[in-house]
């Protein structure tokens, strides 16, 4: 790796942002790539916005900056949109259309942003956007993150080889989910053109 590669994972507390971060770290370790992360814990399971930074390469410490992210993994569209200023024109984004309405929207006090408009904007602005508008039925909610990781491995500059990610999944997945985790990951890896929203 010549250049550091910076990943921003964004989602809602309880969605598995920290878990996905750990998977990325483990994968990088298997691939022998220096890795660092920066996370915020504590309130993370209380349904608030959660982000984590994962940086691969020398001289990085997990910290991200505006316009400095290579890959955005958005587990929820609104949370992905909240991080838009971290992207630049060369960035890639994988966004799962797993909408979780915040209370302010639920109560009618504010509107949920137009996801399609945002995705359209991203497609114009950044290098590549994969929008998982609906996972195949076989993908349970609990496994969506593995699917997303599969998509990430398809990205041209993603520095970790799939075999190392699989090793990490086998090691870290909750008991009983190791096999289905790898299977779902492979599904994400295999389907190059799945569910691209137009």
């Amino acid at each position: 790796m010549d250049q550091p590669y910076k990943i921003l994972v964004a989602g809602v507390g309880g969605q598995g942002v920290i878990f996905l971060t750990k998977l990325l770290v483990k994968s990088a370790l298997w691939a022998n790539i220096p890795v660092a992360t920066s996370e915020i814990h504590g309130l993370a399971q209380r349904g608030g916005s959660v982000t984590a930074g994962v940086t691969l390469g020398e001289h990085t410490n997990g910290f991200l900056e505006k316009g400095g992210v290579d890959l955005l993994l958005g587990l929820e569209p609104l949370e992905a949109q909240r991080c838009v200023s971290y992207l630049n024109k060369k960035s890639n984004a994988i966004i799962d259309n797993n909408i979780i309405l915040p209370y302010s929207v639920n109560s009618g006090n504010s509107a949920y942003p137009d996801t399609n408009k945002f995705i359209h904007y991203l497609k114009e602005q950044i290098q590549n956007v994969i929008f998982i508008s609906a996972s195949p039925e076989s993908i349970k909610l609990k496994l969506r993150n593995f699917y997303m990781l599969g998509k990430a491995c398809k990205e041209s500059h993603f520095p970790i080889q799939p075999e190392f990610v699989e090793k990490a999944i086998t090691e870290l997945a909750r008991k009983g989910f190791e096999e289905s985790g790898v299977k779902t990951f492979r599904l994400g890896l295999k389907e190059i053109k799945i569910a691209l929203s137009e």
């Binding site: 809602v12 507390g13 309880g14 971060t21 770290v25 990088a28 370790l29 220096p34 890795v35 660092a36 992360t37 920066s38 996370e39 915020i40 814990h41 504590g42 309130l43 399971q45 209380r46 349904g47 608030g48 916005s49 001289h59 990085t60 410490n61 997990g62 910290f63 900056e65 505006k66 316009g67 400095g68 609104l78 949370e79 949109q81 909240r82 838009v84 200023s85 630049n88 024109k89 259309n97 797993n98 909408i99 915040p102 209370y103 302010s104 929207v105 639920n106 109560s107 009618g108 006090n109 504010s110 509107a111 949920y112 942003p113 996801t115 945002f118 904007y121 508008s133 609906a134 909610l141």
Partner: protein, 1140 residues
Amino acid sequence: MKKVIDILTSYSTPHKVSAIGNEAIARGAIEAGVNGVFSYPGTPSTEISEVFNLISIFRNSNSSLGNHADLIKNDLYFEYSINEKVALEKAIAFSIGNKSVLCVMKNVGMNIASDPLMSITYQTIIAPLVIVVCDDPGCHSSSNEQDSRYWGNMASVPVFNPATPKDAYEMTKQAFRLSEELRLPVIVRTTTRVSHTRGMLEYNEISTTSRESLFERLPEHINIPARTAVAHQKLLDKLNSDIVDPYFKLFNTIYFAGENKDLAIISSGVTTSYILEIVQRNNLTNRLELFDLGLIFPFPKKGVSEFLQKEFKQVLIIEELDPIIENAVRNIAQKNQLYCEILGKDYAGLGSCGEFTLSQIDQALAHFFKVSTVGEGELDHVNQYENGLPPRPPALCSGCPHRATYYALKLVVPRYNPTDTGKMKGEEVILCGDIGCSGLGALPPLKMVDTINHMGMSISMAQGLSEALKEKNTKVIAMLGDGTFFHSGILSLLNAVYTKSNLMVIIFDNRTIGMTGHQDHPGANNRTKYHEIDIPPLLRGMGIEYVETLMPFDTKDSFKKLEEAMSHEGVSVLVSKAPCVFLPGYKEFTKQDSRIVIDPSKCNTCHNHADLDINCSRNSSASTGMIRAIAKIKAQKPVNASDQSCPANICNHGFFNSILEKDYETALEMVRDKMLFARTCGDLCHRPCELFSNHGAESTVPIKQLKKFVSGIDENFKDFSSTFQRIVNTPKINKNVAIIGAGPAGLSAAYDLIRDGYQVTVFEKEAEAGGLIKHVIPDFRMDKSGFDFEVSQLEKMGVHFHFNSVLGRGIQLEDICQQYDGVIVAIGLGKSNLLDIISSVSDSKKFDAISFLKEYNQKSLKVKPDASILVVGGGNSAIDAARSAKRFHPSVNVVLSCIEEKELMPAFKEEIGHAIEEGVTIFPNSYVAACSESDKLNIALHQFDAKNHLQDLICDYIVIAIGQQGNIEEYSIIGEDKLGNGNKIKANNKTGFTNYKNVFVAGDICDENHMSLIGAIASGKRAVIGIKKLLENYEHDYEGINSLLNLNNKQKEGNSSHPLDLNGDISSIISQFNLFQSCEKCNHCIDNLGCPAMIKINGKINIDYPKCTKCGLCIDVCPNDAISWVKESEVVIENQILTT
């Protein structure tokens, strides 16, 4: 256990790992041979203690240690102490017992632990004691962003300030050495961005040096003033000794040292990481020297002084929070007369608040090095997408027992009006919250917290406020979690008992310290082996008289107990006990075999209207007040409002709930939304709404009496302003409608039409409006002036009246049909039925009931004062006539004969009862078999069924009240085929349309089987819908149609409803009823509960099943009974995963 094994794995050769700062600290302590760890959980420090907690559980578990037995060579004691003060005190003692010790806490924890810290430095420790304090710049999860580096100066203890996980690991390890050498506690201070940053580092071998338990009687262990003054100097000497020097060398590092550099940066902590990343990325390494200070107290005076002597032009000091290093550097520069420009706080926007970001440092360095930082490939118009997004603050988890407790409390202390934020309503109660998950009750929609201070203050706050507000007798409630209660709340509570305070305390006992990730505390040992202290006996032992435990998901019980506790004078404590959703015990009381299902037909749907544009005087439903929800929990008698439907389609829900809220004005408006005659109906209605009910009289909501009550309040009754306003606001429709007949049916139609923007003209044969109600119903049955007032409003609303216009004479139906766009015939029945057998009786001795009552009402009745009068007939007119006759003069003797058995008489039972009470003699099952006239009338009554002779009567007058029929002369043009029984006009029963031109009928002339005020009103309304369908293509049917048609078949009156004391507090009398009905304006669960598993989509609540914990609270909460359990095995609906 993976984690424990990982952290414990001993490496004989260094091994590269990736760890977050907190894990690295734990590993550092393990490698240093720590013997004991004392801690209180607190973000961002918790992961350190959790490592030791896991090890402790692992050791205490019976599971085989397998291959890992060799990993546990050192004895290792761990506890989550009751609070940080006790943790540090016990840690100090542990050290004095010659065991090395780690004490872990978050920034604010050090405040209460500062007491032992400040004194022990004057005394001595024995084995090493390292304190880890984690700061939280930016307050991600703390109540302040205090700078713990000050403790170094304050308490005179060394302070390490790591920049990375690797630093943290090494510094912790060395801190043990330094502590042992100095015999002083040593602080390792981190920040969130060090504790929660994951980096690469190498783990090394774990020390296996064992320490012998030992207590040596040293004079330093006794703290007496005479000794301590000397001790202070000794302490300062320790810090200035050369023991510290090697540590400065180890941890205070100069990067990029070189010749003749102009610029230098001094930094400490995470900012060093930011600087290094940016400097290396931007190839600036040859432009500066960077001095990273890892050991910041004692301050490295020598090192900094030497650094400053390198004659930089500018030295920039970058540190988060307070300018501690900056001030020290300036001090050194001044003392040593080193004149270079020192830049610090507020340089390039780097202030003292919040945490710095990589971007901020990037900009500051660009400024410092005078280079450009213009980012490459910035997105266009990114602000448009980034700004104004709905926030997503943390919230109580779905199914959280705290939410249940808060909701029940909200029912007892209804205070907030969501549309009117912050305004207190009703009884003044102050709610003092505390730190922890329970504090999230302060956020919308619960908003059940008025104060939160530092940890454990809630009870002190409540006591102090209660005392200060004593003259107002304000009730104050303290609310705190179980962990917080033991942490420090318990002391305040003892103080409250001792000072005889008046306050209520709710302990939110979710069996764990939730916020930090479910740690044990003295009251809940889920994982550790320690003794569990049961809270209620503890409280009773403290001398608290009122102690109750409630199960928060039992809303009825919680409500009751909260109310009880509220009314208790003195200290009352409620323990709301249910496990956190993350604990295994949670599933035991939730219904895991079932699923919560919402009936969309009951959620956010108006029961009364398909046409949601129809005016509703209630601005919102149960959301506004909590009264509806309270009724649901309190009331003993659930009544589905649709069981008590009014033919005029009055919204019972809004009417009833307004009364519960004591908003009688709106209650009256709810009636007036649908009809003009609120007070008249309160007097006269035969209350089919109550009769339709399947419930017994005791469980039937007494709607008629309520109507009488609300319309009896003159101030509201006289105020028609909102109706006038509505007419002003309604766009006018350029259509003319004629109404013939100004009785209740015609006037009701006029009322609806004029409010809908029509031009309305009413033709009436009499000189005044009002029909039978005005002219025939005797005044002792109703408030005539109220009726006159109601009728008089129509003219003010713009309805044109033509009086003395008789159909068939002055005006012709045919002409009117042509002149108007629509016509409603509501002329009533103009002709009384006659009895053949009295046809020969002279006119002065016989009356028909209508004329008799008209004359009575007009006070023109001419009968002798001591007359005997026979009334023939069993209907309401007969009873009215009989009662009027009796009232005409007390000595008048009244006999009533009817063919029906008494219980089958068509008249209202109540009226019959009144007649008998007033002295009317009734001969049921009888008929006039013979009548001869002399001076008086000689009448023979026979039994109607057996035809036997029953009674001979001698009377002065006979009143015939055997019904009326239509006067065909008035409307013969309509065609005989359209006439029914009694010459009534046949019409479509959904629209009142006659099939003749544009003519609709309403009221008694309509060929239906009812003769009642409410029937007349409803059929008038139905005819309006018919008109609207004809003239506007209106798509909806008359919404009260079912009740109206039902009326036809239910002429008889049921049991009397339970009489209300209309002078009492109506709202409290009726609070025994839970009258529920779906309402389109309902948003109660969203506005007052806010469970994250309940999501509103397209106006309806949906359950987000993956989030639902099956606690079932929402079932208790829904005011409309729209939510219920369905067994998983019977679930038919699709699992709903949210996608747009």
